[in-house]
Amino acid sequence: MKRIVADPLKCLACRTCELACAVAHAESEDLVQALAAGARPRVSVEAAGQMAVPLQCRHCDDAPCVQVCPTAALSRACGQSPVLVDQGRCIGCEFCVQVCPFGVIHLAADRKVIVKCDLCVARLAQGLAPACVASCPVGALAFAEIQEDATRRRRQTAIRLAGGE
């Protein structure tokens, strides 16, 4: 499946992805109005020494959050589709927050339900890349097939080992 891939060598920590994420999940497309309506980002840029890494849900294949959710609020439609939260079912127990290995699930501002990256399913349906990826001014974020990427690198490695260019 396609996942959001971050390149820490490129990220300048401008946090534009956070702003774009919040707006993409708000009623209004206007930043000021979205902020007024309490929009929150689902991606966060975290510091790692001199580097910065934008982090959001990995939509794990064997997702611990889905397994642990007592109300089945967290689920996925089929095998590799994004892990989504049904906020109507969520009871805010924070089990998922506890088990997420990446710490990318948080409680909403009202602390009653959780919020997480939905891989911008609405945008994907329109053929658009996730908002964080589309907004990055330096191309530090990509929406890519991890396997394809691995294949490409495997071939490059082979060429390098064989002494070619």
């Binding site: 401008c14 534009t16 702003l19 774009a20 930043l31 000021v32 902020l35 929150r40 501002a109 001014p137």
Partner: protein, 650 residues
């Protein structure tokens, strides 16, 4: 085509954008695209780069940092950034003013062949105001003393700016109550920079009052001095006819386009372009003559006084070069794209930079010094003549659009136009407002901004205003935008104005939209309002007058300074995109609400030009009612639309 139509409402610009697209040439609109997404922290004003513990920014979502490293909150950071913007805007207008006063000193000394006193009446008026004895003294003598006193206004260390006395008593009281009376012009900019230095002023409300004082030092100081002295030096403008848009460029003449802001060189270029020796040199190169045209406010300066045609406004600077017939683009300072110099790689146009304050890598630099003005001007004209044969015929595309316009209106001209030469007076204007034939007056000014369809907001707003019997006064690129749509011609009254405004325009023979000059000439709007107050009957202070201001397509820091001095002078101002202050509710509240108590006026942000026009009309109607003026004489040609009604309908 849809994309191009979205970029500009001007047919000539659209035509040139097609040319640019075909040739693969980049414009500001393309660069705007490559700048997407633009930084939200910057546009909200919550990024601070004032010290290097930082850069810091505030998390607008509330989850992360709510203070910078020093502890500055969003409201402090937002207010400080706005003050810095205003320092820069005020500095630009005022430094321009300083150069004009310097030229006045040269004219006074009689040592310059380029400068002499062409506005003696205005000189005498300034002498009266500044306490210079002038009876029985020659212009040169008087000018020397006036220039010395005006120069002292920049570095004034004690007292307050002399021009602030031109404001009604109420405005002066309002400023005094907020400790916002401007002292020296330079001083306010320096104090503003000091206050925003690390560890300085961090009370948002107080910072905004410093911003007000800095802006007032521009409007009633730098800008007003620039206007007054330009009138003394280059002559007081009088209504005159000219033409506008890229069609004014000529295929068979040497074209020199002046671009930037300062009249000190461009005015002398006008003389040089008429020099018989240079004209014969031009003919020797196969040109039929020397055609001078302008872009932005240096164009407005020489349009107002010499009727020199205008090639276009801010977003047309690159498009003008792309016509392939501009032999020299002479730039001085302010609003000049660095990208211009790079266009020389594709066109024969020579970009010549002239200001000691602004260099453009790749451009030929012929530095301008007032002392050798005419000599330098001739050198530049000669460079254009020599460049004329280098045109590439395959690259010539001149749009045909060229509209007639009338410009040259000033506070003094309004006296004469309305009152007559023998009994100059503002009475007829005030009468028209009192009877309701004229609903009010609106200033629509400011820039182009590629974020908005070029000219579209200016046109929609101005047409809506005049349709509702609001007389519109304009400066800068906004005036050029409306001129391109023929709104600055007397015929526009019958076509586009409401019945009341049309009657006045017919009786007096003026357009419904009056061009009052360059962006420093926004100060003319202040002096005109002061005369309206003095004439009486429609409110005894600015904040009571049925007037309003707008800058629908603004982009420059100068526009922020202008907006702030109008608001602080009691005039409601609505601008298109918001100021970069939305990161602090408190600052937004102060500007759009609390300022009413301090200054009798507020800012408003409204990107929809029709809604913005209605905010202005509603404001004008409210002011009319408060002063006890009757409702507009003629029922409006459509059911009164308010912003709310429009919102409800949509």
């Amino acid at each position: 085509m849809e994309k191009i139509n979205h970029r500009s409402a001007d047919p000539a610009s659209r035509e040139m954008l097609v040319v640019a697209g075909r040739a693969g040439l980049e414009t500001a609109w393309d660069r705007l695209e490559s700048q997407q997404p633009q930084c939200g922290f910057g546009s909200l004003g919550i990024c601070c780069r004032h010290c290097f513990m930082g850069p810091c920014r505030i998390d607008p979502f509330g989850g992360g940092a709510q203070e910078g490293i020093c502890g500055a909150t969003a409201e402090t950071i937002v207010a400080r950034n706005l003050l810095r913007n205003i320092c820069s805007g005020a500095a630009a207008h005022s430094d321009h003013a300083r150069d004009v006063v310097h030229a006045l000193s040269l004219a006074a000394a009689g040592t310059s062949e380029a400068y002499r006193i062409r506005g003696p009446r205005k000189l005498r008026k300034l002498a009266e105001e500044y306490g210079v004895a002038h009876e029985g003294r020659g212009d040169g003598d008087v000018a020397r003393d006036v220039a010395r006193l005006l120069l002292a206004e920049f570095g004034r260390q004690e007292g307050v700016l002399v021009n602030t006395r031109r404001a009604p008593e109420q405005q002066q009281k309002n400023w005094a109550a907020q400790s916002a009376v401007p002292r020296g012009v330079d001083r306010e900019v320096v104090t503003g920079m000091h206050a925003t230095n690390m560890g300085g002023d961090n009370d948002a409300e107080h910072i905004l009052m410093v911003a007000v004082r800095t802006a007032l030092a521009d409007g009633w100081g730098g800008s007003m001095i620039a206007t007054d002295v330009s009138d003394v030096l280059f002559g007081e403008p009088h209504p005159l006819r000219s033409r506008v848009n890229l069609g004014v460029l000529k295929a068979d003449e040497v074209n020199i386009v002046v671009h930037g802001h300062e009249p000190t060189l461009s005015d002398v270029i006008v003389a040089a372009a008429r020099d018989p020796q240079l004209l014969s040199e031009a003919r020797a190169q196969g040109a039929k003559g020397i055609n001078l045209a302008g872009i932005c406010c240096t164009a407005n300066e020489i349009l107002m006084r010499h009727g020199v045609p205008i090639a276009g406004n801010f977003l047309q600077q690159e498009l003008a070069v792309m016509t392939g017939v501009v032999d020299v683009m002479l730039v001085d300072i302010q609003c000049v794209f660095p990208a211009l110099a790079r266009l020389q790689g594709c066109f024969h146009t020579k970009v010549i930079s002239t200001s000691a304050k602004a260099r453009f890598p790749g451009a030929v630099h012929i530095e301008f010094h007032e002392e050798q003005a005419l000599e330098i001007a001739k050198k530049i004209v000669r460079a254009a003549i020599e460049n004329f044969p280098r045109r590439d015929p395959a690259k010539i595309n001149i749009p045909k659009q060229e509209e007639p316009l009338v410009a040259g209106f000033t506070t003094e001209v309004i006296f004469e136009m309305l009152g007559g030469r023998y009994r100059p007076s503002f009475r007829p204007l005030n009468d028209a407002i009192q009877t309701g034939r004229l609903r009010g007056v609106a200033g629509v000014v400011g820039c182009n901004n590629p974020k908005m369809t070029q000219d579209a907001s200016h046109l929609a707003m101005v047409q809506e205003l005049i349709r509702n019997d609001v007389l519109v006064v304009q400066t800068g690129c906004s005036a050029i935008a409306c001129a391109k749509r023929s709104l600055l011609s007397p015929e526009a009254a019958a076509k586009s104005a409401g019945r009341g405004l049309d009657e006045i325009c017919r009786a007096v023979g003026i357009p419904p939209v009056l061009h009052v000059g360059s962006c420093v000439d926004n100060s003319r709007i202040l002096t005109a309002c002061a005369e309206m107050v003095k004439e009486g009957g429609i409110g005894d202070s600015f904040d009571k007058l049925p007037v309003a201001g707008a800058a629908p397509e603004w982009m420059s820091e100068k526009a922020i300074a202008i907006g702030m001095y109008f608001v602080a002078s009691g005039i409601f101002v609505v601008i298109g995109q918001s100021l970069p202050v939305q990161g602090s509710r408190r600052v937004v509240e102060l500007l759009t609400n609390d300022f009413e108590k301090s200054f009798g006026a507020t800012w408003a942000f409204e990107p929809d030009p029709i809604r913005a026009a209605h905010l202005m009309i509603d404001h004008i109607d409210r002011k009319r009612a408060e002063v006890g003026l009757p409702p507009p004489m003629y029922p409006v040609p459509y059911p009164a639309k308010t912003a709310e009604a429009l919102a409800a309908a949509s």
